[in-house]
């Protein structure tokens, strides 16, 4: 980011080179905040933790209500008793989630390194909060922002949609009109906010250069600097002839788990969200340890399933 700002100061487009691959909104943000960079990253981590805390708190209330209803309706088998959450456990789960995120060494590492992954995590956390609170508009806006930053949160559209449908008590049937109506509304909100954000970026730097530099870079993987992902060593040793084919295979691999998981986990959209975030952070083209920190933070929510 510092390099991008320096290039901007020299009058050269930051995307003219191959070093800078962040979105224009990040440049704009750091143009003002570059002197307080450490504070900014600490604040984003705190915001992420707070957002996760509030989200899980709300989610737990819903789960508790459902659990109570099912106990009263006697739907659980008798030997499931140790898997049912007690109110005392559920009281502490949001705190555990927030602490899991803040105290995770990976989070600390990405804060010290001042990696922009922290900003991505904050946006996704706010998106989760908005979804769980049930506000479709805010959820669509934050999802558009997250997709704009790195392309992969696009796959989080499905779990968010499922959760919101569940909250509105609209059954997920392919023939139901209410289902399609709601889906269209949500998709329209999402696409419009995405278009607005992209046009805003265009007007910030007066060029469309950022699209190949940000999204083309994520999709075509030209830079092979070693990282914790799968792509770099594979493509360093790949024959040129096949590299396009394998790039496509690897990218499809990330997006492809959404539909089977949606079919299987349609009653548990928050778990689906968690699994999707985990899949993204393992299979994305340039993962960082900050992505791992985000999905690890969710583990306490389902800790009751582990005997």
């Amino acid at each position: 980011v510092v390099e991008g700002l320096a290039l901007l100061d020299l009058g050269v487009s930051p995307y003219a080179g191959a070093v800078f691959h962040e979105t224009p909104l990040v440049i704009y943000l750091f143009h003002f905040l570059i002197d307080y960079a450490e504070m900014v990253f600490m604040i984003t981590d705190v915001l992420t933790a707070v957002a996760l805390y509030l989200a899980i708190q709300d989610f737990n209330k819903v789960v508790f209500k459902k659990q109570k209803l099912l106990i009263e309706l006697d739907k659980y088998a008798p030997d499931v008793a140790e898997l049912i959450q007690t109110p005392k456990e559920m009281h502490y789960t949001p705190l555990k989630v927030a602490l899991f995120y803040l105290l995770n060494p990976y989070t600390v590492m990405s804060c010290v390194a001042k990696s922009t992954c922290a900003i991505n995590n904050t946006v996704i956390a706010f998106f989760i909060l908005a979804t769980i609170k049930g506000s479709a508009f805010l959820s669509a806006v934050f999802l558009a922002l997250a997709t704009y930053q790195s392309l992969y949160p696009l796959t989080l559209f499905a779990p968010a949609l499922l959760y919101l449908l569940q909250r509105q008590f609209i059954p997920v049937k392919l023939k139901s009109k209410g289902f399609w109506l709601y889906t269209m509304q949500y998709a329209a909100l999402y696409l419009c906010s995405l278009v607005v954000i992209i046009c805003l970026s265009f007007f910030l730097l007066n060029s469309w250069d950022f699209i190949p530099a940000v999204y083309g870079f994520i999709l075509s993987v030209p830079d092979l600097t070693p990282n914790i992902g799968l792509f770099w060593y594979f493509f360093a040793e790949m024959f040129e002839h096949f590299s396009l084919f394998f790039v496509c295979v690897f990218q499809i691999n990330v997006f492809f788990y959404t539909i089977p998981l949606a079919i299987k986990l349609k009653e548990h959209p928050v778990f689906f969200l968690f699994v999707q975030i985990a899949v993204i952070s393992i299979f994305k083209s340039y993962p960082t340890v900050g992505d791992i920190a985000l999905y690890m933070a969710f583990l306490p929510v389902w800790s009751h399933l582990y005997r």
């Binding site: 510092v2 390099e3 700002l5 320096a6 290039l7 020299l10 050269v12 003219a16 080179g17 191959a18 070093v19 030209p222 830079d223 092979l224 600097t225 070693p226 799968l230 770099w232 060593y233 594979f234 493509f235 360093a236 040793e237 790949m238 024959f239 040129e240 590299s243 690897f250 691999n253 788990y257 089977p260 998981l261 079919i263 299987k264 393992i282 299979f283």
Partner: protein
């Protein structure tokens, strides 16, 4: 009267049919021997062919002294200026002084195209391929990954204004090696070949047994006369070689033409209109002459060259007096007294570049520029071309002079694009008098795809020399010299006023190691990555598609009953 009129008319007609006749062309050849500090000697050959024809307009079909290969190249590709240099070795400016004409190590090609050329990149590519054929050098490796378009450093040296720098292309191949097969086609372009005149001395086995060898071809348009109404084309072929006193013989410091080239001069090229040998006999510390030259020269020539007053002994090969006493000319240089190291003159401007850092991830390129002039400050343009796989971070660029930061007055930075173009950094830096300026920039090393490594990847990757162009103020005022008559070194770079002279210096090329993947492991790597993906995919597939059925315990078939009987006999629980 009538006959005279008819003759006059015929003459006029013939004069009007000028294009049919061959245009006049002139060849001048010069050799300059200059002794360097530390006992080495530098020999610079220059062959200038000037042709009063306009290569651009009209098809010229009759070539006499100007080589046809280059003439047709200039006409076909719309070239305004061409400069090609092939160099082996590095000119040590600090110990040898300012060079007459320096070239960077490897191959350097820079060309200005005519404004009529529409697709400059295509013409550039064709040009590099044709030149690689003419000179037997691998200039066809010049492509967009090592070509840049400088904006300030390479102004045209011939006629014409250089405002549109999109017509300029510059490329350098630091890894090129120069050898005999590059010298032979270069010699073939000379009108006399290597059979007569000064080119007789150019024998490969001696020329390449040297510390520095540089051969260059410069083509440019010049004014035909003082009024500059018409354009002539000048082809200048220069060859500079530095003979090392240690490498070529027993530490004795006496030089002669025979000792340097294992040949002597027997005659001048019959096609040349001027053929001279100059020996630099300037006294270094103004007391006594340092050098004794035999045979005694016919005349002496004094000039102010590169800010210093110099005296040259002149041998004119075309004058009949020269070969009166002996049939061959063997100029011998003897040192009259041993040299003190305190006499080594430091040039006004010299530079040094190196790479620092540890590990294979990051590094730093540092350039040190020295201005040793006691009281004058002058600006210098620095041009750096760094390949794309060393990612420069321009926010780490620092320029420090005398402990304080020095902000350049002009920066042009074009960042690299992976696999498409290199970094270009041009800066105009003011150098205060008697100072050292340090320019540092940090970079990060990229991991390349395994097919992009050369066959010897641990040798390292070369970074081409950076170019420093400056108008250095001279201590002695220089007067305007006639471009045609003056010896080699002053007429290539026109000087606008007498108080400064133009100098173009090159720094050392750098050798940088890049991280290498394990080349023996492509299959293993692919298997490993695919295993990870398959494990993940397999687990997901299982979780998503596995359904559980309750299985009724059955009595089983005959085999099972038999097995149960045997188990009961053994005492093991039944199936």
């Amino acid at each position: 009267g009538g006959m005279a009129a008819v003759a006059l008319v015929l003459l006029l007609l013939l004069a009007a049919a000028g294009p049919v006749w061959a245009r006049p062309d002139v060849l001048r050849e010069e050799l300059l021997l200059s002794p360097l500090p530390a006992g080495d000697v530098a020999a610079t050959f220059q062959f200038r062919t000037r042709w009063d024809a306009d290569l651009q307009r009209g098809a010229v079909s009759h070539y006499r002294l100007f080589p046809k290969a280059l003439g047709r190249l200039v006409a076909a590709l719309g070239i305004r200026e061409l400069h090609l240099a092939l160099t082996q070795g590095f000119w040590r400016t600090r110990t040898w002084g300012q060079p007459p004409l320096q070239a960077p190590a490897g191959a350097e090609l820079w060309v200005w195209f005519q404004p009529t050329v529409t697709d400059v990149d295509k013409a550039w590519k064709e040009l590099s391929n044709i030149l690689s054929g003419i000179f037997c050098a691998s200039l066809n490796f010049i492509d967009s990954t090592n070509t840049v378009t400088p904006t300030a450093s390479f102004k045209p040296l011939g006629l014409g204004n250089g405002t549109d720098h999109h017509l300029l292309r510059y490329a350098v191949l630091p890894r090129e090696v120069v050898c005999t097969e590059n010298l032979t086609p270069w010699k073939k372009l000379l009108p006399c070949g290597s059979k007569a005149g000064l080119a007789v001395l150019l024998k490969a086995e001696r020329l390449f047994h040297s510390s520095y060898h540089s051969q260059a071809v410069h083509i440019r348009p010049i004014c035909r006369d003082a009024s500059c109404l018409a354009v002539s084309w000048e082809l200048r072929q220069t060859l500079t070689v530095v003979f090392d006193s240690f490498a070529s013989g027993q530490g004795k410091k006496d030089w002669s033409l025979f000792r340097m080239f294992s040949r002597t001069l027997t005659d001048a090229c019959p096609l040349a209109s001027q053929s001279k040998v100059y020996v630099d006999i300037s006294p270094k510390n103004k007391e006594k002459e340092l050098l004794e030259v035999t045979p005694p020269p016919a005349s002496l020539y004094e000039a102010v060259v590169q800010g210093e007053k110099r005296t040259y002994a002149v041998y004119d090969l075309l004058s009949p007096l020269l070969f009166n006493t002996s049939r061959s000319l063997n100029v011998q240089l003897k040192w009259t007294r041993p040299q003190d190291s305190s006499e080594l003159p430091t040039p006004v401007l010299h530079a040094h570049r190196y790479v620092s850092g540890y590990g294979l991830q990051t590094g730093e390129i540092s350039t040190l520029i020295y201005n040793t002039h006691p009281y004058r400050a002058f600006p210098v343009i620095l041009l750096e071309t760094v390949p794309w796989y060393l990612r420069l971070y321009v926010h780490t660029l620092t320029i420090i002079t005398k402990g304080k930061e020095n902000k350049p007055s002009y920066i042009h930075y074009q960042p690299a694009q992976d696999r498409r173009r290199p970094h270009l950094l041009e800066m105009l830096i003011q150098l205060p008098a008697n100072s050292v300026t340090k320019i540092t920039i940090q970079f990060e090393r990229a991991l390349l795809k395994w097919t992009e490594y050369p066959p010897d990847p641990n040798h390292g990757f070369y970074v081409g020399s950076s170019v420093l162009s400056a108008l250095v103020p001279s201590i002695i005022a220089m007067k305007e010299v006639d471009m045609e008559q003056s010896p080699l070194f002053t007429s290539l770079f026109p000087s606008s006023d007498g108080s400064s002279y133009f100098v173009r210096l090159y720094t050392e090329p750098l050798l940088v190691n890049l991280p290498t993947p394990d080349f023996s492991m492509p299959y293993n790597v692919i298997c490993l990555t695919c295993t990870v993906v398959a494990v993940c995919y397999g687990s997901f597939y299982n979780l998503l598609t596995r359904t559980f059925h309750v299985e009724e315990p059955s009595r089983g078939g005959l085999a099972k009953r038999l097995a149960n009987i045997i188990r009961k006999l053994r005492g093991v629980p039944p199936l």
